[in-house]
């Protein structure tokens, strides 16, 4: 077995700390973007409203407002006058400097993190996902890469503070909670199924992370929409940057569908590996139990989307519960529950 490159391993840890700091600044930018959204937008609208001829303004009333907003890449519901981001999730004309800085920093952070994760893999001569530290760092990398890839096609910057927030949490958890120096894999993990099973699990978890954020926003947005319908004032101004609850629901559904397939595959690959390693493909080990629970919850979610009275808010709750199970499976189960899957690297 080739020996571990300890120096490179230390550089890797340094990269990861650096990435965590970069992401933290990115997170602040994204939060700034949301926080100022309500204020700047209000200012833009006021200015536009003042430019309109008073007679015209009187004539079309809210229509002028809507027009201005729509011009800025967002829409306002004709019914409620409530402003949200456009349903197409395309980039609009509105300038959001803080969000741009956030994206740029997130991209930079992703590059540094990639350097950290890859150098760790090189230092260890294997895929860098063999213990909790490595799950967290690789997971954070996949989350941010998936997010950036999604950003190239759709304007999902409104998710930035949530997604990058989770990335920061994962990196902090790795650096503070599960610090583990580079090492070889124990025999139980020396299998190509590690590469297949864990990589797909990490990708799937990353997608669930995105949909979790969307489902939370969906609940907030539908709350906001309900208040608006009831004629109450808008308390969640930053939600203007976020699309309608229905759009969020539909996008989250699409991603959840893909992620569910990947999770199904994770479960199957895990079973095949368990058969190779332990001689049975299913044994209700704690980790297996929770993987199954997650699978069933998301199957429930997919069903809910097709059940009258269960779409919308209830489905969103199921998606959130599913993600909480993912987090539980990854943290509490790995760290506190004993089982055959005791490879957290913590002792």
């Amino acid at each position: 077995m080739p020996s571990i490159d300890e120096t490179l391993g230390q550089y890797s840890e340094l990269f990861i700390l650096l990435a965590a700091m970069t992401f933290t600044v990115a997170l602040i930018s994204f939060c700034w973007d949301l926080a100022t959204a309500s204020k700047t937008l209000q200012a833009v609208e006021d200015r536009l409203a003042r430019q309109q001829a008073p007679a015209e303004a009187a004539l079309v009333g809210a229509g002028a407002r809507n027009g201005a907003a729509a011009g800025a890449g967002s829409t306002a519901s004709a019914e409620t006058g409530l402003e949200t981001a456009g349903d197409s999730l395309d980039y609009g004309g509105r300038r959001r400097p803080a969000a741009r800085i956030g994206v740029a920093l997130a991209a930079l952070g992703t590059l540094i993190l990639a350097a950290g994760v890859i150098s760790r893999g090189i230092a260890a001569h294997r895929v860098p996902w063999g213990n909790m530290y490595e799950f967290c760092t690789t997971g954070a990398l996949v989350v941010s890469v998936v997010f950036l890839l999604a950003l190239t096609r759709k304007d999902l910057r409104f998710l930035g503070s949530f997604v990058i927030g989770l990335v920061v949490i994962m990196l902090c958890a790795a650096a503070i909670g599960f610090p583990t120096p580079v090492a070889h894999l124990v025999p139980a993990l020396q299998s190509y199924w590690l590469i297949i099973h864990v990589s797909v699990a990490v990708i799937s978890s990353s997608l669930f992370t995105l949909t979790f954020a969307m489902s939370v926003l969906q609940l907030l947005q539908s709350h906001r929409e309900a208040r608006s319908r009831a004629g109450q004032p808008d308390r969640l101004g930053f939600m203007r940057l976020v699309p309608t609850a229905l759009t969020l629901e539909n996008v989250a559904y699409r991603i959840n569908a893909v992620s569910f397939v990947l999770w199904t595959f994770t479960l199957m690959a895990g079973a095949i590996w368990a058969e190779k390693a332990w001689g049975r493909y299913w044994g209700w080990d704690t980790k297996e139990v929770w993987t199954f629970v997650i699978w069933v919850v998301y199957a429930g979610y997919l069903h809910a989307r097709a059940t009258r009275g269960w779409t919308g808010t209830r489905a969103a709750w199921l998606s959130i519960v599913g993600y909480l199970c993912v987090v539980f499976n990854f943290t509490v189960v790995n760290v506190f529950f004993s089982g055959l899957h005791s490879y957290s690297g913590l002792n």
Partner: protein, 586 residues
């Protein structure tokens, strides 16, 4: 279920129109057999008493197979699976369960009463999944029949007002164009067919011919395959439980094992297992090699590799074959798998009794409890005379002493092997005939010969050393060291089926989730000014975010076909359809 809900919550998020399009409604009804079936049940609720017995049964069946019940049972299943991860489970670890009940005398028996230590074979867990699968069968059968019919029937008739469907487009051909309404429809039918639609041209003898097209039958088929495959997986698991078996065997270097019931240390047969199922193979452990990390400062001594060199024979008369067994790389012998699940040290020990005879000679398996292979060991010597002897203690491959003189294991390799034992004399209680765990010795009724509290002290033995027991009861010698492997030997005839059905399920799931099932209608007519007018509309079944893209693709195809100037370029959304309604035949 809400096909209707979905259709009305159309992609643009517009509020539903007052009248759902008639064809759409029919579509929804057709594809939605079992779900619509649940709709009248609310009304039946009220008139329950007049239903009679059959009616009641039918009502119960409708309830059970409704989408809502399926969802409820699914969520219940998720919740019910959780306790199995919170409490120790008998099948995995019976000893831990016994310990747990002893440690929690108040709650333990109650938990046991509710089968919380056997969650996955408990009455309530089984009830949930059986109900779920009955619901599944009740759901799949009518849907399969529906789908069979749908696949063989023609695309539904062209709705009167296409502009009401979620995706709508129209274009007008130039006045000079040779394309008549009928040719236009025929062209469209050809194009759609090439795109994978099943088409039917109708009304060619009228002034407004049209084509109905449909595709994506694989979506529903995938869904059915997925659900049926889940049943297949369950059946395969059951087959494994009925006809499979699983046994454990510890083999010390140089020893061998023959696959018979008596050969096993531990054996759990399936419900319908018969001994004739045991393949007549044998195997011998020639050598077991381990490799620990000697380079890393932080992970010094972590295991890197375990390799067992074996000689196997498929039957008593078969030729011996050399084979290697590693973690993650099981051996396959005669439909049976052999797994390397553990290993440890077996110190070779000789015990002479008070009469000077050899009462025990050979390796004693010790059970490692940590990364330094600090191993517990129990040796029972029932043949010793005048009194039976027992030894309990530790084996340390590399023993070090701390400042208080307490020994601890510091490395998994045998750099300084030591035995630390207490010894006992008396009746070991082995002759009662009931099976006893070889790794446990109940010392409460025995006379203590050696331990740290006695004057005689504990036994400490290095290699080749001998210790003389007090009262002339005998001697114990540490002759040498061997390694052993712990093997799991299993046969699961359901395994192949489980793999097959879960793969099918995965394929069906992909088809179901990612294939769009849609219908397209194209209608043509002639405007009073002589132009040929074409309009078309699309309708999806269920979730289909690519419907708009498909509409665009179809518009492009039609335009390319006729090289027509689009009436309203790139404007084929529903709203645009309404806006360009001037081009419609009316």
């Amino acid at each position: 279920m809400s096909e209707t809900a979905k259709t009305t919550r159309n992609p643009a998020g517009e509020p539903a129109e007052s009248g759902v399009p008639d064809a759409a409604e029919e579509f929804v009804r057709q594809i939605d057999g079992h779900k619509t079936a649940t709709r009248p049940s609310a009304a039946q609720d009220v008139t329950l008493p007049s239903l009679g017995f059959i009616g009641m049964l039918r009502w119960a069946w409708t309830q059970l197979t409704s989408m809502r019940t399926a969802l409820f049972l699914l969520l219940l299943l998720a919740v019910a699976a959780v306790p199995g991860s919170l409490f120790p489970q008998r099948p995995a670890n019976p000893a831990v369960v016994t310990q747990y009940i002893q440690d929690n005398p108040a709650t333990g028996p109650w938990l046991d009463r509710f089968q919380l230590f056997d969650v996955y074979s408990s009455v309530w867990f089984s009830a949930i999944y059986l109900l779920l699968f009955i619901s599944l069968i009740g759901c799949v059968i009518p849907r399969a029949i529906q789908h069979w019919k749908a696949m063989r029937s023609q695309p539904p008739r062209t709705p009167r007002r296409l502009s009401r469907l979620p995706e709508y487009g129209a274009l007008a051909l130039d006045t000079g164009s040779p394309v008549t309404a009928v040719t236009a429809v025929e062209n469209a039918a050809r194009l759609l067919k090439r795109r994978g639609y099943r088409v039917e041209v109708r009304g060619t003898d009228t002034s407004m011919p049209s084509v109905g097209a449909e595709r994506g039958f694989l979506k529903e088929l995938g869904n059915l395959v997925f659900h049926v495959s889940l049943i297949g997986v369950l059946v395969s698991v059951a087959v494994g439980g009925l006809f499979g078996y699983r046994g454990q065997k510890v083999i010390v270097e140089g020893d061998s094992f023959v696959n018979t019931l008596v050969g096993y240390d531990n054996f759990s047969p399936g419900t319908n297992f018969s001994e004739t199922q045991l393949a007549p193979f044998s195997l011998q452990l020639d050598k077991f090699q381990v490799q620990f990390d000697r380079e890393s400062k932080t992970h010094y001594g972590q295991p890197l590799d375990f390799t067992a060199t074996m000689t196997t024979k498929d039957g008593p008369d078969a030729a011996p074959r050399p084979q290697t067994l590693k973690v993650n790389e099981p051996l396959e012998i005669g439909g049976t798998q052999v797994y390397l699940v553990g290993n440890g040290y077996a110190p070779v020990i000789t015990v002479r009794d008070g009469d000077g005879n050899i009462a025990h000679q050979g390796p004693v398996v010790s059970v490692p409890s940590d990364g330094a292979y600090t191993s517990t060991m129990v040796l029972k010597v029932p043949d010793a005379k005048p009194e039976q002897l027992g030894f309990v203690g530790l084996f340390l491959p590399t023993a070090l002493e701390n400042e208080k003189g307490v020994a601890f294991g510091s490395d998994p390799d045998p750099f300084n092997p030591r035995l630390y034992l207490n010894s006992y004399a008396g009746n070991l209680g082995l002759d009662k005939g009931d099976p006893k765990n070889v790794y446990v010795l109940d010392t409460t009724k025995l006379k203590v010969l050696n331990d740290r509290t006695q004057k005689s002290g504990g036994i400490v033995l290095g290699p080749k050393e001998t210790f003389t027991l007090p009262d002339g009861l005998g001697t114990i010698t540490f002759d040498g060291l061997k390694r052993y492997v712990a093997l799991d030997i299993t046969s699961d005839p359901g395994q192949g089926g489980a793999l097959l059905f879960s793969t099918l399920a995965l394929a069906g799931l992909c088809a179901s989730l990612f294939i769009g099932r849609r219908r397209v209608w194209v209608r043509a007519g002639t405007h009073p000014d002589g132009r040929t007018m074409v309009e078309w509309a699309l309708l999806a079944r269920g979730e289909d975010h690519r419907l708009a893209a498909e509409a665009t693709a179809i518009r492009k195809l039609l335009e390319k076909e006729w090289l027509a100037r689009p009436d309203r370029p790139a404007d084929n959304s529903k709203k645009a359809g309404a806006a360009s309604s001037g081009t419609k035949n009316s």
